[in-house]
Subunit: 203 residues, 2 copies
């Protein structure tokens, strides 16, 4: 591409370095910004700079937070005896959106994946084991993604906390609400038959 | 969405204000930046800030430029008697990529579109007419998009410069190189038959 401007070329290259954004999309975005009042670009760049400099991870659950302890951990109305273990802060958002969970979270920051060079020590597993050891936890809910890496991570943590004799559970896998059985994959359908629940509980 | 962080929420909202970027994509991009070294975000934001503060429009052709007069207009090897009229700086890039045009450009900055409230006075048409009047122009090539607005713009400019008796042309419309006739739309195919060229010229 001939951009006839080094400044434009640099801006396009930087935007195109974001995942899923190609050169053409980057150019479109950059030209859009050029047509807008400068203030819009300044608002965008300030928001991003503030993000990388000011955002913190909650010291207790490793969720992102503007403060040392996140809103969820700091909320006295939440049940601090039940901890939901998730991979990523996006999972926290997803579960919070359901408004069905009133306990606390523990964000691992990934899952054990030897292929990507991520071992247990790259994740916030030790802090979770410490919580189980030192606090009055009643239940650990595993809400990892249903993949080999997710299952491995669950199992690794389970082995670490087994001896403390607390309740552990995983979120239910099954057919999505509203889905047709014929389109479900066999593993999901198979699991949802094996793990069937009493009818009166499903009402 | 519950972002559990005002800083994150603001960054996502700003990124999502870009065209074609939804909240989910914005969140993905922002979380990506958070995982990268801070320097990457600073490079991105600096490039964008520099863009909106330093980039200029060439005083002669209204192409974007790092300098008062753009590289193309300043190049003594280009034919300054032939001017290609385009809508947008992206069109300049597209034509430059073909390496088939050695004249200069004139970027209108849009096309006449009463529906969008864009009249001739919102475009760089007057400067083009002045060029035709005051400089030794031999040919004006209209390379606007082939839409009603593009045709209207061409016609409006043509009427303004008709009296100066210079050669005017439009870029050829026809079947794309490599395309199958059966998939071409009727208007394009029809035009390409009407505007057929001598066979020996197509070699």
């Amino acid at each position: 591409m001939n951009y006839s401007s080094k400044i434009l070329e640099k801006a396009v290259a930087e935007v195109a370095s974001l995942p899923g954004i190609g050169k053409r999309t980057a150019l479109r975005l950059v030209l859009h910004l050029m047509k807008q009042p400068k203030e819009q670009t300044h608002r965008l760049t300030n928001a991003l700079n503030t993000l990388v400099s000011d955002i913190k991870l909650c010291k207790k659950c490793f969720n992102i937070s503007d403060t040392e302890i996140c809103e969820i951990c700091a909320n006295p109305n939440r049940n601090n005896k039940v901890i939901c273990v998730v991979e990523d802060i996006r999972d926290v958002m997803a579960i919070e959106n359901t408004a069905q969970f009133k306990g606390l979270y523990h964000v691992l920051g990934g899952k054990i994946s030897p292929m990507e060079g991520i071992g247990p020590h790259n994740l916030h597993i030790e802090a979770l084991v410490d919580k189980v050891k030192n606090e009055e936890i009643e239940e650990i809910i595993f809400a990892m993604s249903s993949t080999m890496e997710g299952d491995t991570t669950n199992f690794y943590i389970f082995k670490q906390i087994e001896k403390y004799n607390i309740k552990t559970s995983t979120i239910a896998r099954g057919i999505s609400v509203g889905d047709e059985l014929e389109y479900a994959d066999e593993i999901t359908l198979g699991r949802s038959i094996v793990n069937r629940i009493p009818f009166e509980k499903s009402l």
